[in-house]
């Protein structure tokens, strides 16, 4: 037995030496631009008539609801390719991979997209932990990770350390600030009760709010948290109701949002001003609770909600409805995930069109040089603005109040950059 082990070790060693003798492999075949101002920049995944993008979403697992977003993206790109000839003559090839919302899987898929499929850029990785895992890899390998689909503030926080990553939607911090400003203006002595999800999303939004109201007459009198895995927030709602607060800030995802709305409506002894965050403000959340029970609640938005009747005659919404029916038949266009995908794909189109150099570097320069750029389905007055030090494309939100069967926008769009 011992001799066999020795022999085995010898064989292994011999093989190792033989293999090493072949030498390490050369640098992997990244292609670069040859001449002009773009010389030496990466041209992986882009030619004169095609550009390859890769997205990573949870198509399977508990968070697979987000897997609907790429269908909206795909419909938009299909429409672009078929009717507009792509962007600047380049057809968009869009590859979607599933990570099941598991960070190691996201890294694996990011590597596959970059090293195997040779994509030009990662357009949308979904989720905070998953995109964080990809962020290191993308910046190490200099792969654009553009318009991350998550409201965490980290995507734009450090353009020096992470020049290859940029977010898109307003950060939860900004959203929290908006609610704070609103109360300072409208209810300067408000006593606030907060319910928030115990993770980064909930904490970010709460932090934005608490920082904004610091030093003002608005005070937080009660706070409750819940876990995303909890069955119900009813106990938390009972505790908050006992606080005597006159404003209730509801920082929850759709499932818990409707529970909290229902609990608030059921408790006739406690009638605070109900502020619900954007994540849970879709009509599809409110409808099951009953429109009559959610009158005058307040929220903030940056996108047009396809389930909201006020946009029925809007040309952008009409285009969305028509092209979704054509390129992604059978989908319920009222689902806000599709319109979100559609809108972010539109933003990507603008970024690709704005590239000076058709290179990865050129794309990053483009997404960091957006100035008052509009894309379809953004609310009127909401535009994308970035700069070399500003990695947050959308920081404008508008307040809205639910009346009848629809949200009514009120006040001016608020740019949290200026207000901060």
């Amino acid at each position: 037995m011992r001799t066999r082990t020795i022999r085995l070790a010898a064989v292994t060693a011999a093989a190792l030496v033989a293999a090493s003798a072949c030498g390490g492999r050369g640098e992997d075949g990244a292609t670069t631009a040859g001449d002009g101002t773009c010389q030496g920049q990466q041209t992986t995944g882009i030619t004169d008539d095609a550009v390859k993008l890769g997205g990573i979403y949870p198509l399977s697992g508990p968070t697979s609801a987000y897997g609907e977003i790429p269908k909206g993206v795909k419909a938009y790109f299909d429409y672009l390719n078929a009717e507009k000839g792509g962007v600047n003559g380049r057809k968009i090839e869009y590859i979607v991979r599933d990570d099941g919302y598991q960070p190691p899987k996201s890294v694996e898929e990011a590597r596959r997209l970059n090293e195997q499929d040779n994509v030009f850029a990662l357009f949308q990785t979904l989720g905070t932990p998953t995109s964080s895992a990809v962020m290191e890899y993308a910046n190490q390998r200099q792969v654009p990770q553009v318009f991350v689909s998550s409201g965490a503030s980290k995507w734009g926080a450090d353009p020096v350390k992470h020049p290859w990553t940029i977010g898109w939607q307003p950060s939860y911090l900004s959203e929290g600030r908006i609610y704070g400003q609103y109360l300072e203006r409208e209810r300067p002595s408000a006593k606030v009760a907060i319910l928030y999800q115990n993770d980064d999303y909930g904490k970010d939004l709460r932090t934005g709010f608490v920082e904004e109201i610091a030093g003002s007459g608005v005070t937080v009198v009660a706070e409750q948290t819940y876990e995303a895995t909890d069955p119900s927030v009813d106990p938390q709602m009972r505790n908050l109701a006992g606080s005597g607060a006159d404003v209730f800030l509801n920082i929850t995802t759709p499932k818990f949002g409707s529970q909290a709305l229902a609990a608030d409506a059921a408790n006739t002894a406690w009638n605070p001003l109900h502020i619900i965050n954007n994540v849970a403000s879709s009509n599809t959340v409110l409808k099951p609770v009953g429109f009559d029970k959610v009158q005058n609640i307040v929220s903030a938005a940056f996108l047009k909600d396809p389930s909201d009747p006020q946009w029925a005659d809007d040309p952008e919404m009409a285009l969305y409805e028509a092209k979704m029916a054509q390129y992604a038949p059978g989908l319920d266009t009222k689902n806000a995930f599709y319109s979100l995908g559609w809108a972010s794909a539109g933003a990507m189109e603008k970024a690709l069109a704005a590239m000076q150099c058709p290179t990865r570097e050129g794309l990053m320069a483009a997404v960091r040089g957006l100035s008052d750029v509009r894309s379809d389905l953004l609310l009127p007055g909401v535009t994308m603005n970035t700069g070399p030090q500003d990695g947050y494309p959308i920081e404008t939100l508008q307040l809205q109040r639910f009346q009848g069967e629809r949200w009514n926008l009120f006040g001016e769009p608020i740019d949290t950059r200026k207000a901060g």
Binding site: A15, R25, S60, G61, V107, N114, P129, A133, E227
Partner: protein, 333 residues
């Protein structure tokens, strides 16, 4: 186990099953050393992950396949190993190599602790108790934010290849994983060939008989749990090196279930089972996605059922059957 029924005289005439197996081991060893120089970085990364899972499955195989105890908590030990390494790297900038023994020590101790309920419970009851580890770990990791980074997780550095090797980062990681996997494989192999291995098999096959023969049940059961957890912890630490990021969502209950499925599909109690299982855990979910993007879970489930139907003793069993078939075909000539 099954090559006993071949008459000894026949072995001399044609390549015997043992010779075939030796040949297989040598081929795998050569392939393992050549692969990183021939494949592109992404494939090398995938192979590295196969090795990581294979180490965890070696542990699970020891426990489930050889000692006959069931665990649905190995994703938990994997996570604890990964987090031990991650916290050391994050807090104290510990050299990567040192995180491995630390992760192994921590998981060994915890595994030993978990071995205690295993003395009283068996079968499904034990499975449920072990599953609680996997379940409560995720919220627990989210709580202690200052240490674990909460649900944001921790982003870490990868081990740098020393310049004398001339290796790229992915190749260096691959060889680190290969070294750990080989060491773990040899350790388990020699353990099973010793007195301990026979004791474990006796415990698996008939506890009462084993006790009558003088095997101390309590000792071997708890030790089996401890070793097994330790290997899962080692795999977790290497996983941290490779992925350079940990978060609670990386280690859900699904991971534990996937690992158990991996070892059953790979081949319980077989030598190559963990390696085949590791490949299964890594490649089949992706393959399922390629087949049908809308319902990868369904495809994955169907694949498991198919494998269990075609190869009730796992992929390793299937390979063994193929080997014996070849053996007989050669003999007929």
């Amino acid at each position: 186990m099954s090559d006993v029924d071949i008459p000894r005289t026949a072995r001399l005439a044609v390549p015997s099953a043992t010779a075939l197996r030796r040949l297989a081991v040598a081929l795998v060893a050569v392939a393992a050393c050549v692969a990183p120089f021939q494949l592109e970085p992404f494939r090398v990364f995938q192979l590295t992950m196969v090795l990581v899972y294979a180490v965890a499955l070696l542990g699970l195989n020891l426990l489930v396949g050889h000692a006959g105890q069931i665990s649905l908590g190995h994703g938990g030990f994997f996570a604890i190993g990964a987090y031990t390494a991650a916290v050391m790297l994050d807090r104290w900038d510990t050299p990567h190599v040192l995180t491995l023994p630390a992760a192994m020590a921590v998981t060994f101790a915890l595994g030993f602790g978990l071995g205690v309920p295993a003395l009283r419970l068996r079968g499904l009851y034990l499975a449920l108790v072990t599953m609680t580890i996997a379940i409560f770990l995720v919220p627990l990791l989210k709580r202690f934010e200052s240490v674990t980074g909460g649900s944001m997780g921790l982003t870490l550095s990868r081990p740098e290849p020393p310049s004398w090797t001339g290796l790229a980062e992915d190749q260096w990681l691959y060889f680190l994983a290969l070294a750990v996997a080989t060491a773990a494989g040899l350790a388990v192999w020699s353990l099973l060939r010793s007195r301990v291995g026979r004791a474990l098999h006796a415990v698996r096959d008939n506890e009462i008989a084993a006790e009558v023969m003088g095997v101390r049940l309590a000792r071997y059961k708890t030790l089996a749990f401890a070793w097994s957890a330790m290997l899962a912890g080692a795999a977790g630490a290497v996983n941290t090196w490779v992925i350079a990021f940990v978060s609670p969502d990386s280690f859900t209950v699904n991971l534990s279930i996937l690992l158990l499925a991996g070892i059953v599909v790979g081949g319980l109690g077989s030598t190559f089972g963990p390696l085949l299982g590791g490949a299964f855990v890594l490649f089949v979910p992706t393959l399922a996605q390629d087949v049908n993007q809308a319902a990868p879970g369904v495809v994955f489930g169907v694949v498991i059922i198919l494998i269990m139907y075609v190869a009730p003793r796992g992929l390793a069993g299937l390979a063994g059957r193929g080997g014996r078939f070849l053996d007989q075909a050669l003999r007929k000539k």
